[in-house]
Amino acid sequence: MSSSPAIEPYTLDLVCQLDNVQGMVDALACVRWKRQQDALVELSEHGIVLIVEESGCLQAKVYLQRELFTKYEYGAEGRPKFGISLGLLVDCLNTFSSPGHSNTIEIKYPGPDMELLLKSVDTLNSCIYSEIRTRIPETNAWDYNFEQAGTAPLTFTVKSSALKEAIDDLEWPGSILQISLQKSPPCVTFRGEGHGDLQIDFMYYANTDLLLAFHCDTDVSYGYKYKFLKATTANIPGNVVRENRGSKLTIGRGGMLKVQHLVSVAKAIAPQVESAGYQPPSRIAYIEFFVKPEEPADD
């Protein structure tokens, strides 16, 4: 069985193996809202973080902690960073995945020319391999410096499928979506105005299967560009909906919005275990979006 080249004069920063490529494809596709996007990748002994940004107003991060991998050998000093095309990475990873199988992939960095190296490792007489060019990142990722809004967090957790549906439904009214949190009665409102208007309310006590958690001690309301909010839910993978997961939204100081999703990276396991809705935490990838508000609502 063929493996690495015969001569390897340098140590690799990272050699890791993942036993379910499709999970990684799902997690990365979650932050792909355009066909071609540049991403920044940071490697550390804790795992891999991939960051994508748009026009200084929207940032997404994918956390793939080391426990997701079946092997994670970290040999770098410090934290190497490189730029890579997200679209290309997702399309390449997707070729390693075949339907109905769990495919094991080995990821190495850096290659002889600083490439990211991918290779399938679970098949005897065939293999898939890929070398993707990386670039030196010009700037560091924008640190969105998310801070709590006041003395207590303003946050709610809503069923991911309901969130996606609500945002999809609000597509036609206009280009700004208003998100309001009301302390009493506890309620989250999504409102779009423009070509007509549409409002979707999640009442905490009425919809306990949709609104799973709610913390709010003062009423707030902020507007966000629709296209950025859409980007936070447009590519939620199917398994998030199937597993009934919740997405957590937090409004920070100045109206900065944080949206968090959980994406399962586990192998497909026995149906009875899946339906219990429980996944060991180490088999979950964390996705975070930060959205800057439009001018503050006068309320």
Binding site: S2, P5, D91, N94, T95, S126, C127, E131
Partner: protein, 321 residues
């Protein structure tokens, strides 16, 4: 010029469920070439551009009472729209089934023949391939429009092209699981347009896309080889796929050509014909990439010689050798 035959149940199954769906994906039109013993479906044989596909059926694989006659050594050729033919066969089948419910199974048969008819609003009679199903009390006739049958010189041109397309590459490797290859190429399409294909006498097949930003490939090793073969050198065993194929090409044990990903994907539609395996080879001087599909007699390990299907993909570059 005359052509008349009855499609057997086996013939209908082969065409309706397997071959016509594949031909539909390979190209809008194709030639139908009838000879005394065989029927051919020919895609892109006379224009150099796309994927050439040659399907050959022995007359008894499809028909009973097959009669063909013409002044050109009993050969007839014409072109038609594959989707119209597919539709006609499909609806003839459903009519046949309706008619035969409750009746003796051979009381109606699907007859196919070449006719000239005067369509409405036309002054000239036009040629058609007609499907006729005669039931107990009624008959259903479907006409598939076809081109004017090819002239003698055009038929010779077609026959010559057909003969030269039958050359076998010196080395062929057998891919047992075409679905794996298809799944890979279908996903690879998003990454690039040009595919490098390397085939070695050791039984290695490598397909790779290489652009400025990425190299993505798949290697299949230890495939069965037909034709010129040689054992893989031990020292190459632990190299990367890329290094292994480069060394094999340098030694003269492998050939490499570039084809369009679109063409390769298109040729994979031939899997709809449900072949038992596929053989890949590169023609001498790297003039084209050949894929030959093998069909076994059902329930046996014998090749069914009454059906043959192969594709030839144009090569983008002379390739390295």
């Amino acid at each position: 010029m005359k052509f008349k035959a009855f499609l057997t149940e086996n013939g209908v199954n082969l065409l309706e469920k397997r071959f016509l769906p594949a031909f539909d994906k390979l190209g809008k039109t194709c030639f139908l070439f009838l000879t005394k013993e065989h029927l051919f479906f020919l895609h892109n044989l006379l224009n150099g551009d796309g994927v050439q596909c040659i399907a050959q059926f022995r007359k008894d694989a499809l028909f009973d009472d097959y009669h063909v006659s013409s002044q050109n050594e009993d050969r007839i050729a014409f072109s038609l729209d594959v989707s119209l033919l597919h539709r006609a066969v499909k609806s003839s089948v459903s009519i046949c089934t309706e008619f035969s419910a409750g009746l003796a199974s051979n009381s109606n048969r699907l007859q196919i023949k070449l006719v000239k008819k005067l369509p409405p609003n036309c002054t000239q009679p036009m040629p058609f391939l007609t499907f006729e199903t005669k039931g107990y009390k009624s008959a259903v006739i479907q006409d598939v429009p076809i081109s004017r049958p090819l002239s003698r010189s055009q038929v010779i041109e077609l026959q010559t092209a057909l003969d030269s397309a039958q050359d076998l590459p010196p080395t062929l490797v057998q891919v047992q699981d075409p679905n794996q290859l298809q799944n890979f190429v279908d996903r690879m399409r998003h990454v690039g347009d040009v595919l490098n294909v390397t085939i070695s006498k050791h039984g290695d097949l490598q397909v790779q896309i290489s652009t400025a930003l990425v190299r993505l490939g798949s290697e299949f090793r230890r495939l069965s080889v037909i034709g010129e073969k040689s054992p893989a050198p031990v020292e190459d065993r632990n190299l990367t796929a890329q290094a292994r194929s480069e060394r094999a090409v340098a030694r003269g044990d492998a050939m490499s050509v570039q084809v369009s990903v679109k063409h390769f994907s298109k040729s994979l539609h031939c899997h709809l014909t449900k072949p038992d395996s596929a053989f890949y080879g590169i023609a001498p001087q790297g003039s084209c990439l050949t894929v030959i599909f093998q069909f076994m007699v059902p329930g046996t390990r014998q090749t069914d010689k009454s059906i043959s299907l192969h594709c030839r993909l144009p090569v983008l570059d002379p390739g390295s050798n």
